[in-house]
Amino acid sequence: MKVLRKNPEQCIECHACENTCSKLYFKEENPEKACLRIKETDSHPQITTCTQCGVCIDICPVEAINRDKNGIVRIDKKKCVGCFMCVGFCPELAMFMHDDYIEPFKCVSCGQCVKACPTGAIYISEE
């Protein structure tokens, strides 16, 4: 299973990963629409990513979240009723919402952000 992992000490807070992600999924460069988040702090930046742990699968009342054959946790937007319980219950705080959408969104380990990262602060790990 591919999982997006992180090295916060390498992060230079350029936000290229977020912009790449939101551009890919929502056709605009907007860190608030990214499936991972870089938060600037006093020390190393805080990087929020999905570990594909699957807690959200059991939380979903309509079974709209499932693990695909590659082990990636995915949301079926057609089934989703927009309750956002998965957002509140994600142990990594890596399930996201935006006012423009009635469904949540999350990282599917596609790796495009990794390609955009100039320092190796994020990487895809095979687990």
């Binding site: 009342p61 309509v62 956002f84």
Partner: protein, 707 residues
């Protein structure tokens, strides 16, 4: 066979309202739409407010519960159907009650309310009486309403809801789009019939039932010869209310989801065990009704404590009764096998137990037997019997039996002593069959008292003291003896002694936060109004205070959970686009609350005399009770009453205590009426009605006769 079909234009919900309702008369098969007016939305908001308004217009002061003009109104509310904030899928059911002869309201989960809304209607009125059993079907995607003759032999809810879900769903995937309202066989023979609202549990692959339990609404349903209501709606999404500010609702919901995720395990464990979490807590504080409310605890409570139920009822995954309820108090025991009755030996799903059921069907009737409670719970639900009324009236019957007022001859052989699980179950089966003593018991405590006094020569004073009913409705399951505020919380209610208006025992008795009459009166103003609001919106009360923010205890008014009150203001404004604040929220409720009070007065009730309560709710009726807590009562006599118990007989001490407590209740009543803006006879004043914008001519006409 379809008796009538009606086609309607599909609509779009605007900011929480369809602006129309559905009227069905099963007597002459009329089906029509009605406009929901701005006046209705301004004065009655929705839910129970709409129910009461439609019922007011349908009946006269002479209307009885079984007259064709009596209505059952099912309405949700402007906030209902949002999926982001926990507890937002409730239906409010209103009818003239066979127990109280006044408007009854009951709050119930399940998917019917939201699906009715998404199908295009803000309320459903059912009037008239059919000749033969009918099923009403609403297809919310095709815009079709049908009245059809029932061809179903089965009479109990767990089967009816399953059969109808199968019949109207296209396939397994579609079952979640169906909700069925039905009752069971006992609703044909008792006055305590309830309505079951279904939802399909996709994980268990079974139909679950939630209950509109109180006041005999299921009895009215069957009197109208309605077998079931079915709604189908495919396409639920989180924005079907077309709210003014979806983002605000989403963010408010997520904030609470997170709070529940972080804190529920440390607080009330609603996700793990649900309302049953308080069984042992109530026992510890001497508040768990035991043996017809004689006592508040029992040495065997551990046998029905929450961990015993948790071992049986939780399948590891919490579930809610509407989408987005992360508090998820709904629980079920699947693969339960009843040992008695028509479903003996079959595997069934039992919804519950709720705390109320564990107390009513457990401690109050002396059945300290987990599976016994579950079996009673299953049969009550599927027969369509209100567990609270059943438990409380069975407790009354058992005390009568142990006092020789009843005997085997009168009960047809049932040995109804406390703890006799088999006899309690047989009583319930008799209600289902309409036979024997079950038929008498099914009339409720008020009517039983009359029969026992007039036909069996029982002592009227004793029965009136121990019969735990008021306004004709059986008490719910808390011992109020040591909390004056809770005595008022039960007694000074609109529909009868149900704790959904005010639960003040901890504030009053345990934490002593409301010591004076004025403090108690303020609480008995604020909380009933605040809680009424849930019923106007289509909301559940539990996510308000069965979870609290971590810093709640540092706020100015912890009992109100200020942050959650603001959440409610935000989601109401978010849906409707209005701009109310927490004060206007209370005024919205006051309008409907006072309307309901005046409705009671219009029906010949609703005055001070109807707010009096049985002494069992206030203090020790028997020597056995007094002696069991003698130290407590002696101390109170000395310190509060100024009566020296030294050398006095128990009877003398009981009389002194009783005089004191009854006076306290009267003084409390004075203070509450004053705070609510009512006369000392409990009638809302014209001045009060003007203040809250409810000086409607039809209300003035009723109250002026009583001022």
């Amino acid at each position: 066979m379809i008796l009538k079909e009606y086609k309607y234009e599909l609509g779009k919900i605007e900011r929480g309202y369809n602006n129309r309702s559905l009227y069905i008369n099963v007597g002459d098969n009329t089906i029509k739409e009605k406009e929901v007016t701005q006046f209705m939305k301004d004065k009655f908001i929705g839910g129970k407010g709409f129910g009461l308004w439609y019922l007011w217009n349908a009946v006269t002061p002479e209307t009885r519960w079984n007259d064709p003009e009596n209505e059952i109104v099912i309405a949700h509310g402007p906030v209902a159907g949002i999926t982001q904030y926990p507890g937002s899928g409730k239906s409010l059911v209103v009818t003239l009650s066979p127990l109280t002869h006044m408007p009854m309201d009951s709050n119930v989960g399940g998917y019917f309310g939201p699906y009715l809304k998404f199908s295009g209607f803000d309320a459903l009125e059912l009037q008239g009486k059919a000749e033969k059993d009918v099923i009403i079907y609403i297809d919310g995607n095709k815009g079709i309403v049908q009245i059809m003759e029932s061809d179903i032999e089965e009479k109990d809810s767990h089967l009816l809801s399953e059969i109808l879900t199968e019949r109207f769903a296209k396939d397994e995937e579609d079952k979640k789009n169906i909700s069925v309202v039905s009752t069971g066989s006992a609703a044909d023979h008792t006055l305590i019939g309830l309505l079951n609202f279904s939802f399909y549990d996709i994980r268990r692959k079974g139909v679950r039932l939630k209950q509109a339990g109180r006041g005999g609404i299921g009895t009215v349903f069957r009197d109208k010869k309605i077998k079931a209501l079915v709604v189908r709606f495919e396409g639920t999404k989180g924005n079907l209310n077309n709210p003014a500010d979806q983002g605000k609702i989403n963010r408010t919901g997520i904030k609470l989801h997170k709070e529940i995720c972080d804190l529920d395990d440390k607080q009330n464990r609603m996700r793990k065990i649900g309302t049953a979490n308080i069984i042992e807590v109530m026992d510890e504080y001497d508040l768990l009704p035991t043996h017809n409310y004689k006592f508040g605890c029992h040495k065997d409570t551990y046998k029905i404590s929450s961990d015993k139920f948790q071992a049986r009822v939780t399948q590891g995954l919490p579930d809610g009764c509407w989408y987005g309820c992360s508090l998820s108090c709904a629980k079920a025991a699947d693969d339960f096998i009843p040992e008695t009755g028509p479903y003996k030996g079959q595997k069934v799903i039992v919804d519950g137990p709720e705390y109320e059921n564990a107390a009513a069907l457990g401690s109050n009737i002396g059945v300290f037997d987990r599976d016994g409670v579950l079996e009673l719970n299953f049969y009550c639900d599927t027969y369509g019997v209100d567990t609270i009324s059943f438990g409380t009236l069975t407790a009354f019957v058992m005390e009568c039996y142990e006092n020789g007022i009843l005997d085997k001859e009168k009960t047809g052989g049932l040995e109804l002593y406390f703890g006799n699980k088999e006899a309690a179950l047989e009583l319930l089966h008799q209600m289902s069959r309409g036979e024997g003593f079950g038929k008498i018991a099914g009339l409720g405590i008020r009517r039983m008292k009359k029969i026992f006094i007039e036909e069996y020569g029982a002592d009227a004073d004793f029965l009136n003291d121990i019969g735990m009913e008021q306004k004709g409705l059986e008490y719910s399951e808390y011992l109020s003896k040591e909390s004056l505020a809770q005595q008022g919380g039960y007694g000074l209610t609109n529909k009868g002694p149900q704790h959904d208006e005010a639960w003040l025992i901890f504030m009053d008795m345990v934490n002593n936060q409301i010591p004076t009459f004025e403090d108690k009166a303020e609480a008995l103003h604020y909380f009933p109004m605040f809680r009424t609001w849930f019923g106007l919106m289509g909301l559940c009360k539990l996510p308000w205070n069965d979870i609290a923010p971590e810093d709640n205890k540092y706020t100015d008014e912890p009992a109100k959970i200020p942050e959650h009150v603001q959440n409610y203001v935000d989601i109401f404004n978010g849906v409707t686009g209005k701009n109310i604040d927490k004060h206007e929220l209370i005024v919205q409720s006051e309008r409907v609350y006072n309307f309901q009070r005046i409705f009671n007065i219009r029906m010949g009730y609703g005055k001070r005399i109807h707010d009096k309560t049985p002494y069992r709710s206030m203090g020790p009726v028997t020597e056995e009770e007094y002696l069991s807590r003698q130290e407590r009562y002696d101390k109170q006599l000395k310190e509060l009453v100024g009566f020296d118990p030294e050398g006095k007989t128990t009877q003398e001490k009981m009389a002194a205590l009783r005089k004191y407590r009854e006076e306290q209740y009267e003084r409390l009543t004075d203070a509450v009426y004053k705070r609510r803006g009512w006369t000392m006879d409990g009638v809302p004043t014209i001045e009060k009605l003007k203040e809250i914008g409810m000086d409607l001519p039809e209300l003035i006409e009723v109250v002026k006769k009583h001022l």
